[in-house]
Amino acid sequence: MLNISLWNMVGVVVEVLLLYVLLKKFLFKPIKDIQEKRQAMIDGQMQKADAANAEALAFKEQYAQKISGVQSESNQILEDARKQAKNEYDRIVEQANGEAGDILVKAKKNMELEREKAMREMETQVADLALSAASKILGSKTGTDSDLNLYDQFLDKAGDTDDRTLN
């Protein structure tokens, strides 16, 4: 226990060095290896996750752009359709107005023609009446009686015809 022997000490040194080599090989190195592998795996996964995240963000951006594009496009389409419909509406209304005006004008012209025709007819009738009245006067006796009679007759007829044509 207390006697020191050089060879014993050398033996211990050799043994401790051997233990050092063996523990390094069989204990420390495998654990270090496995920890490094794990670290590498975690780093790889982190990288992968980062990449996936970036990709997802890019996709999101892309989709947002697409959606906004679609929005503006649909707005454009709506706008176009509205404009077109308005044009169509204006055109139809204008056409209808024009047609209605034509019809009115034509109707007025027809009415005018009708009236002229009636007037002319009336004039001829009045002339006929005057002619027949004159022939009657010439044919019958003269005198106040006959004159009065004639007047009445004329008035009767004229008034009658007048009333008829004017109303």
Binding site: V13, V16, L19, L23, F26, L27, F28, P30, I31, M41
Partner: protein, 201 residues
């Protein structure tokens, strides 16, 4: 001579244990055994890395080997063996290895000239003391470990002599387990401190 045999036994047990513990390490989903092993080794590694610093991290495997060896040696008394650390040949050999490593670390870190000059620090006056420390440090390391183990052994024998039943139980907790681990810790702590002192000087 007897302690050499026990040391061989300790080496065999430690190596077989290492092989058994590390034969199925997994990167993912490590088992309880692996987690405990990794946590223990990592704890030791961090302990020595903190002491030795970044530059001295190359000495951590040796320090881990020594702390495991001394701890197992000290605890081997529990199994009825004669602890190798109770043999001064063993503690002296360990202390000599420590001082060789300490001075090697100094030479490696500062160069031979820087290492020689480091004896004059902090002032030229202390140079003889610094030189004497080359001898004093290993002797103190050796004697501390040896004395504690022998002292613990003697006290335990005395207690067993008084009453071999039950009474030794609490004392064995202190002298065999606690003191054994503390001495392993102290030996390696001091060696690491001296190494880091040499590296950072």
């Amino acid at each position: 001579m007897e302690s050499n045999v026990i040391i061989w036994g300790i080496i065999a047990v430690l190596v077989l244990l290492s092989i058994w513990l590390t034969h199925d390490l997994k990167v993912e989903n490590p088992g309880k055994k692996q987690l405990m092993l990794e946590a223990g080794i990592e704890w030791l590694e961090n302990f020595f890395k903190d002491l030795l610093g970044e530059q001295g991290s190359r000495y951590t495997p040796y320090m881990m080997t020594v702390i495991i060896f001394i701890a197992v040696s000290n605890l081997s008394g529990l199994l009825g063996f004669k602890p190798p650390t109770k043999d001064m040949n063993v503690t002296a050999a360990l202390a000599i290895m420590s001082i060789v490593l300490i001075e090697y670390a100094g030479i490696h870190a500062q160069g031979t000239l820087g290492w020689v000059k480091s004896f004059t620090r902090p002032m030229a006056l202390v140079t003889p003391i610094n030189i004497m420390e080359i001898a004093i440090r290993p002797v103190s390391l050796c004697m501390r470990l040896f004395g504690n183990m022998v002292g613990g052994f003697v006290v335990m024998e005395l207690i067993k002599g008084i009453c071999p039943v039950l009474l030794p139980f609490p004392f064995t907790l202190y002298f065999d387990i606690f003191d054994g681990l503390i001495q392993a810790y102290v030996f390696c702590l001091l060696t690491s401190l001296f190494i880091s002192e040499q590296i950072e000087a």
